[in-house]
Symmetry: C2
């Protein structure tokens, strides 16, 4: 439930920097440059004529209209971002929240653990217990515009231009500021930090904002990765796009796959650097956690482990050397254990009937994981028997697919989680625009139940996807 | 309920053709060409050097990587189509349905009205009673690929490449084949045309298709513009994207704003060609239809009128010369009268509490129409009093906005309805992909109610948007 990102230093800068090749690719200009030393232009006017033809051709390619075939394919390759309904790029405005809702929380968190106040926000460190997404999304939007050109959301500094509004409240960190030693946690003005009060204060501030009122919050994006984040005010933010880990503690009229985005936790153990293989994976099944269950099979490793450095080392070793990794539901349907398994190339065996999965529009999880329903999975020896029947070829297939998709679960990969989250947020825009327009013109009606637009799925009768 | 499109000939071709400028725009090459006659290049090698620099610059612009600023903005301007979740263009496959589900229906329709079978499908005429969308979408996808490059969906001929599958069954026409003289309507093999049976037969055919089975129908698109179209099999197609006029006769688990697309009816009366003005609009309010209500106001025109050429002429005259046009709910929440008003620049007064409106993600209907709830609107003299209070400036504002959006309601405009429908269909793709992936990995669960993802709106308490 409390993912600990491995990297505690402020992230991104180096990894995200993409250096565009500042000189043109060699093949184009070289064709001309290489002719210079040869002095083959005996008649300069002819040379000029030839060059003019070439320039014309280049200019033509350069200025060809959009529906002209050659250029269209160039565009297709280049710009793969989502569009707003009117065809523009999707524009996001990040609120410049009062400091107490962002850096101030880091400070309170540090203070509660005996740290001192930093003199400068730039010296504030990313606290290890902060949920990754709230830090990474904030940092990402703070990057220079030039580094963000391939993001699905373009940051704008004028809210009037924005399609979406990001509220970068560190809601998950706020939740745990006081967990360790609540009594000693005084902020600079001497008051004890209070998460619930901070949530209320945020809403008081937000509800005064003209852009919040304008569209009833439909176009606002909130990060609440911890299943308890924002719980006190969830009914006041429920129109917005919520970035969450699962819907375990949210009602159907508060959050849904249609409106919100499921985020991955960041993995805690190291990414497996080796290639796909069965050789290096002698264990059949691995699980480590707070629950303990006996399995009398020598290649099934069920370990007890709490949050500690040693546990993490043992988990890393176990996941890197097992073929399957068990992922049962805990107190919530999701947990970072799943993402540890994925980056370990250890095929997840998901026993969590109500789990929602990140980026499921681009990831077919049946290709990377095995799903088993809870009642079936607890039958004695069922799981182990099931997994022993999986052929080596099938396991290799799973591993190959895991390798393809693992970038989606790397917050630090420039082509990874952060980019995907924004893509998903951007894809909500047509529905957001529709709902904000519609809400404002709806007149009073006799409705027996709430006015909901739904996407309903059929009840499944399968016990496992294998 | 039965829109009659004005234009009965097969549509599109000429209007949709866009001729790309085949020569480069004048400013670039001219810069060089104009220097030629001046013979200012006394030293050709210097001239070559200058040209080389310029060529290098051009090549650089041409080959600059996608995330390089200059080129990005060029791309933004050029390609405004929606993307599939993986960043490609959205690809649609149109089923080559057995003839009896498309042209065969036109033939049966003609036969029921005493027409003869056409020798060639190319000679089949667009029947005036067919709902426009089913004909126009079919014709649009049949256009050569080169004419469709700015569409939000690219047609592919290989179903394996497709994101979406279009089922071009003429469902609304099928519904009315037998309405006029059922007995005499024999098809070529002598059987009476039967709409219900045709629906069943379509499903029998479709349910055998491998791509239908693959994703449980989530990625299939159906046209059912008449509120009764496909009614017999609606539960079998409900996973698909339904192109409908309203949700009046559809249950919440069959259709919704989230999954489906609201289409406009095509207007029956002529588009108003004049400019915005109050001068030419002396009447306050116009309504024509089957219901009759007395209003003792000399500038309020309430007329009785059924479907006929004279009625249409009278409606056209009335809508072109009134400031407001009444749009009450009929037997369904939607009707083509609304779209007649819009293209007439006559401000719609919508008294239809459950109406859903086309393209509401890009159109803010409060800017072009006035909404009044049913109970309030029927109070004696309420409406007329309300409308008399609207200032001339406000009416001009409404008219200006109507003028801006009326292209969305023109099926024949290359930048009109057809393009918008495909844009909306394309924007559903992330959710479609998500639902098809998710459905296949969901295991058996204990659910008290159906598994639905919803977007819920607040109950409104306003009586009018004015």
């Amino acid at each position: 439930m409390n993912p600990r990102p491995k990297h505690r230093s402020p992230p991104l800068t180096a990894a995200y920097l993409q250096s565009p090749p500042l000189s043109p690719p060699p093949h184009a200009p070289k064709a001309f440059a290489s002719k210079m030393p040869r002095k083959s232009f005996t008649r300069p006017t002819l040379a000029i004529a030839v060059l003019l033809v070439l320039i014309t051709l280049y200019s033509f390619l350069l200025y060809a209209p959009p529906n002209y075939n050659t250029n269209t394919s160039i565009n297709l390759g280049n710009d793969r971002r989502f569009r707003s309904p009117d065809g523009r790029e999707v524009r996001i405005f990040m609120y410049d929240l009062p400091r107490r809702f962002t850096y101030g929380i880091i400070e309170s968190y540090a203070a509660a653990r005996g740290g001192r106040a930093a003199e400068d926000d730039a010296h504030l460190k990313y606290p290890g217990h902060q949920h990754s997404a709230e830090w990474y999304l904030f940092s990402d939007l703070n990057r220079p515009a030039g580094e963000r050109v391939d993001s699905s959301v373009t940051r704008v500094m004028d809210p009037e231009e924005a399609d979406l509004f990001y509220v970068p409240f560190f809601s998950s960190l706020s939740l745990i500021v006081n967990r360790i030693r609540p009594v000693s946690n005084f902020s600079q003005d001497g008051a004890v930090y209070n998460d619930e009060q901070t949530q209320e204060d945020l809403m008081e501030w937000l509800e005064e904002q003209v852009y919040w009122k304008r569209n009833n919050g439909w176009d606002h994006v909130f990060i609440c990765q911890d299943p308890n984040a924002l719980y006190k005010v969830i009914d006041r933010v429920k129109n917005g796009v919520l970035l969450v880990s699962d819907f375990g503690r949210l009602a159907r009229n508060q959050a849904s796959l249609v409106k919100d985005v499921i985020l991955p936790y960041s993995h805690r153990i190291n990414t497996y650097k080796g290639d796909v293989s069965l050789e290096n994976r002698k264990s059949l099944l691995f699980f480590m956690g707070n629950r303990y269950r006996k399995e009398n099979e020598k290649d099934v490793i069920i370990k007890h482990g709490a949050q500690s450095r040693e546990s993490r080392r043992a988990a890393s070793q176990g996941m890197h050397s097992s073929r399957f990794c068990l992922h049962p539901a805990g107190d919530t349907p999701s947990a970072c254990r799943l993402f540890d398994a994925i980056v370990s190339l250890c095929v997840p065996v998901i026993v969590s009937n109500y789990i929602e999965l990140p980026f499921e529009d681009v990831i077919d999880y049946r290709k990377i994981a095995i799903f088993v329903d809870t009642n079936t999975a607890v039958k004695p020896r069922y799981l182990v028997k099931l997994l022993r029947r999986v052929s080596p070829e099938k396991i290799m297939e799973f591993q190959n697919e895991l390798k393809k998709v693992k970038r989606y679960f790397e917050y630090e990969d420039p082509n990874g989680t952060v980019k995907e989250i924004w893509r998903q947020v951007a894809s909500k825009l047509p529905l957001i625009k529709l709902m904000s327009n519609r809400d404002k013109r709806i007149v009073v009606r006799d409705l027996a139940e709430q006015d909901c637009s739904c996407l309903c799925s059929n009840q499944s009768r399968i016990h496992t996807t294998l």
